[in-house]
């Protein structure tokens, strides 16, 4: 029996293959017709790509027709190259190189010779194309950007490369695919489905009508339009405020998790990546490795969050019951935890209770709360993991699950992290070794998107919806269910009020008192984050990042946002002002604090960014 198994399988396989071949080749005759020599030509019919609108129905992206000159190398007959090059307006060397590339790709499949002609060029060319066998013009649709902002949100489309073709046979050489932002995320919805036509040809290679009355043809399916949650006015205003600065702004509607604005600076005009100049422009953006315009700082930048993180330290302390609202903790210019240097603090009134602690951003206060939280448990390992569990419930330390194709996890360290870091159990470690986490400066890293998410959760008093950019898919009229599920944090609702009061007092008398906006109750928290850079292996400290998180109005919040300005120094200097302006723009539609607006619009940090590259000593935090 053991000898016969493989033998019988081989024989059965032989019979199966014989029957299959008999069926394909002898019994079923329709294949024969479909492949009649030189009789059938395949033509694709590309549907319109779906439009993109903002939340108020403003059109952001539509389409414009474009024409590609294509070639099937094996059908090319000897031609007057010089005349043809003149017609196409390209050099002979260029033409020869392109033909060679097309031949290497495939002699029998179409390749692009000259992409993206304008309508006028097409008109001039189309009446002469019949003279050149093997060449034809393929109509496609290109993106037509109605706005000059949101490039990081919208993404772009470009020709598929060979790798994509190999992975997904839907695409063929010269076809277009979404390569970033919502164009990539919602590619299949926006794209629709291309149609195919089989044309009967005679022996002179002329089309003589549809093959078999078109029974094998399929119609193209138009791509669906989509509506984004972005508020175009707010987005545009945000990008204007961020000119000559680096960093980002992200604003959410706390009640729904809808992304109102997603500004990454520096940015670029999306129209740069359309048409024949596309590749030149893209190269320029791609190789700017200092300003990194293609790097979405809001989604991909991992930064130490700085003081806004103290709100979470407070919430966790309250939930764990280690601090009373009324208990005052004194600060003698810093927190002494037994290290060589104490954890310094700035000048403010002392002692402070919870609300004042948030308003004045007192380092000692939060270091104390953090230490008690961790030390409540038998071992620091247990305490850290408990602390981490609370933070994870705010969507930190992992991908948030939003619908844009790039992102970073950030970092919320756990006990394993510190055990590795301090080589436990060879060396023991205790809470003070991690004390910087209490003020958002230790090992903790967040993306600006994660910062706004926890701010929204605070605004909602304990829950959030996953941030998302899709408002509606027209025709389907729904969005993925993941964005309709409420995510609850591990903090009980009653603990949020005192922290929110503290954030409100940041504006009333605290670290952002001088940037109040009359008539709007804003809650916010400033942050000033230390940071370092490595150039040629030399580690340098740069001017602090200016960070600000806020939401407004205090009751029934309509907008939550996080603002991040690289090397902007203290929190309210740049980020705080920008946050205030964004809030006023969104809630009122106009700006009353023109002085603040002028300061931001005219201010530039370019000088600051050039410092480390100048090859001379420089001072920071001026």
């Amino acid at each position: 029996m053991r000898k016969l198994l493989l033998l019988s399988i081989v024989l059965v396989t032989g019979v199966v293959f014989a029957s299959r071949l008999f069926y394909l080749q002898v019994y079923n005759t329709s294949y024969e017709k479909l492949s009649e020599n030189n009789a059938v030509k395949v033509v694709y019919d590309y549907p319109q790509r779906g439009y993109i609108f903002d939340r108020n129905g403003e059109l952001l992206v539509s389409n414009q027709p474009s024409y590609d000159v294509m070639v099937i190398p094996k059908d090319v007959k000897p031609l007057d190259t010089l005349e043809f090059c003149k017609l196409l307006n390209i050099s002979k060397e260029d033409f020869v190189a392109k033909m060679e590339r097309a031949r290497v790709y495939s002699p029998r499949l179409p390749s692009v010779v000259l992409p993206q002609l304008t309508k006028t060029e097409y008109a001039a060319l189309s009446e002469k194309m019949y003279k050149y066998d093997g060449f034809y013009i393929q109509k496609r649709s290109l993106r037509d950007y109605q706005v000059g902002h949101s490039a990081n949100v919208l993404g772009y489309i470009s020709e598929v490369n060979e790798r994509i073709i190999k992975e997904n046979p839907y695409y063929q050489m010269g076809e277009l695919i979404g390569m970033g932002g919502v164009e990539k995320q919602y590619e299949e919805i926006l794209r629709g489905k291309k149609g195919v036509k089989y044309l009967q040809k005679d022996r002179f290679n002329r089309d003589i009508g549809p093959y078999k009355e078109g029974i094998y043809d399929t119609l193209p399916v138009r791509g669906s339009d989509i509506e984004l949650t972005i508020d175009a006015k707010l987005q545009e205003y945000g990008e204007k405020l961020m000119v000559n600065k680096r960093g980002g702004i992200v604003a959410l509607e706390p009640k729904t998790g809808e992304i109102l604005a997603l500004v990454a600076a520096p940015n670029y005009d999306p129209s740069l990546l359309v048409g024949r100049e596309r590749s030149k422009n893209f190269t320029k953006l791609y190789y700017d490795t200092i300003a990194k315009p293609l790097f979405d700082r809001v989604l991909q930048g991992e930064y130490p969050p700085g003081s806004p993180f103290k709100t979470l330290t407070a919430l966790i302390g309250l939930q764990e019951g280690v601090i009373d609202l009324d208990e005052k903790i004194s600060c003698h210019g810093g927190y002494n935890y037994g290290g060589r240097k104490k954890l310094g603090c700035h000048h403010h009134v002392s002692p402070l209770a919870m609300i004042g602690g948030v308003a004045h951003s007192c380092n000692s206060y939060f270091a104390t709360v953090y230490r008690r939280t961790i030390d409540k448990y038998a071992t620091p390992q247990e305490g850290i993991d408990r602390w981490r569990k609370h933070l994870l419930s705010f969507g930190l330390g992992d991908y948030l699950g939003y619908d844009l194709p790039v992102g970073k996890k950030g970092l919320i360290p756990d006990s394993d992290f510190y055990n590795r870091y301090y080589q436990y159990p060879k060396y023991k470690w205790y809470t003070p070794a991690t004390i910087s986490n209490s003020i958002g400066q230790g090992e903790v890293l967040l993306t600006p998107m994660q910062m706004v998410n926890f701010t929204a959760a605070i605004a909602n008093r304990g829950y959030y919806y996953k941030p998302h950019i899709i408002k509606n898919i027209v025709g389907v009229d729904t969005i993925p269910s993941a964005y309709q599920e409420r995510q609850n944090t591990t903090i009980d609702p009653q603990y949020f009020e005192p922290v929110i009061q503290g954030m409100n007092d940041v504006y009333n008398y605290g670290t952002a008192a001088y940037i109040q906006i009359p008539g709007i109750e804003i809650c916010g928290k400033t942050g000033t984050a230390e940071n370092y850079i490595k150039i040629d292996g030399k580690r340098m400290q740069l001017t602090d990042h200016s960070v600000f998180v806020a939401f407004a109005p205090k009751d029934n919040p309509k907008i939550a946002l996080a603002v991040f300005v690289e090397n902007g120094y203290w929190g309210s200097r740049w980020a705080g002002r920008i946050a205030g302006l964004m809030i006023e723009q969104y809630l009122r539609g106009e700006i009353t604090r023109k002085d603040m607006e002028d300061f931001v619009l005219n201010g530039s940090l370019m000088e600051e960014y050039e410092k480390p590259y100048r090859d001379e000593p420089f001072t920071i935090n001026q």
Partner: protein
Amino acid sequence: MGRKLQLDWITILLYLALVTAGWMNIYSASMEETQASFFDFGQIYFKQLIFIFTSMVLIVFILAVDAKFYERFSSIIYLISLASLLGLFVFGKNINGATSWYSFGAIGLQPSEFAKAATALALGKYVSDIQTNMRELKHQLQSFLIIFLPALFIIPQPDPGSALVYAAFVFPMYREGLNYIFIFLAFLSATLFVGTLLVGVQWMFLLTVTVTLLYFLYRRKRKKKRIRWFNYGFFVIICFAFTLSVNYVFNNIFEQRHRDRFNIVLGKEVDAKGIGYNTNQSEIAIGSGGWTGKGWLQGTQTKGNFVPEQHTDYIFSTVGEEWGFLGSMAVVLLFIFLIIRVLFLAERQKSTFGRVYGYSVASILFFHFFVNIGMVTGLLPTIGIPLPFISYGGSSLWGFTILLFIFVRLDASNYINR
């Protein structure tokens, strides 16, 4: 020694016939009408010709080496082969998204093609060891490890097709005493998987219950004694759980392209110009061949619509179009004769080593043959592995040649000692 080697000429002639048929079809698939000279080193068919000649040189070397060498050095050969697979992660060259190649100037070498022979040698050596008993779980697991390691290194290249080939080694292991339950389980899970996708969870559940019940009644009637119905119930529950997990795996773990491939083969989706493009065009090409085909070099237009892989994995569609049903059947029969011949020779080996190696050769050839022609004729999902001796490619041809001719050498010495 000194006597003439008693080579098995039937195997050698079958080999030569397949290689010749392969080259003729590669020539047809890669030739261009505008090509002026035959001797163009850049042309695919010319390169294949060079590969064939170098294979002949390889054969001479393989036959010149003493048969004992292969058994004695099998472990070292296996380790070198593993190292060459690992080395890819450092020195490999990325071609079309996969790092499966070493590049030496104009020549590329794909170590995964040679690893099959090395693994077959190692398995033969291990199983033939006097202390190995394939009926013991420990030894079964250790031989699985020998097979599993190269596959594990090949998957991340990524080349899941080539890694899948190692499943073929289950046949020699079964021959040497592996419990039939492994084969049964593999077959059962494949049936449940495909069945669930085809008819749905409810029907599969009904079917499982019915079949189990019938078997239960049959057993009870025959044995006339109490048998434990509990085991049968447990079996049904396991099957049901597996069936339920299928949808989850299919929808959440598979990627869209994998789903598409399955759906097309199962006939759940008809998509002539989109995802099923390769398979559809391949079926049209084969189907248009009719009884006798269009003749050598005459099948042109349908090939014009192929993706640029027709000379490698899809070479059989050229056979089908130009040589028709008779030509395709000839190739299928050549393969079946070759596999059966190797099986026959394997059974008459005196040493366990030779038998296991021969079985491995037959199984690997069969697996490639089965998956490749199944894919090209639209019976199986798209899994890109070459058709032995026929598909274009130096590493592939050399790899299979080495695999086969080591066995021819082993068999020849077997004959002498008789």
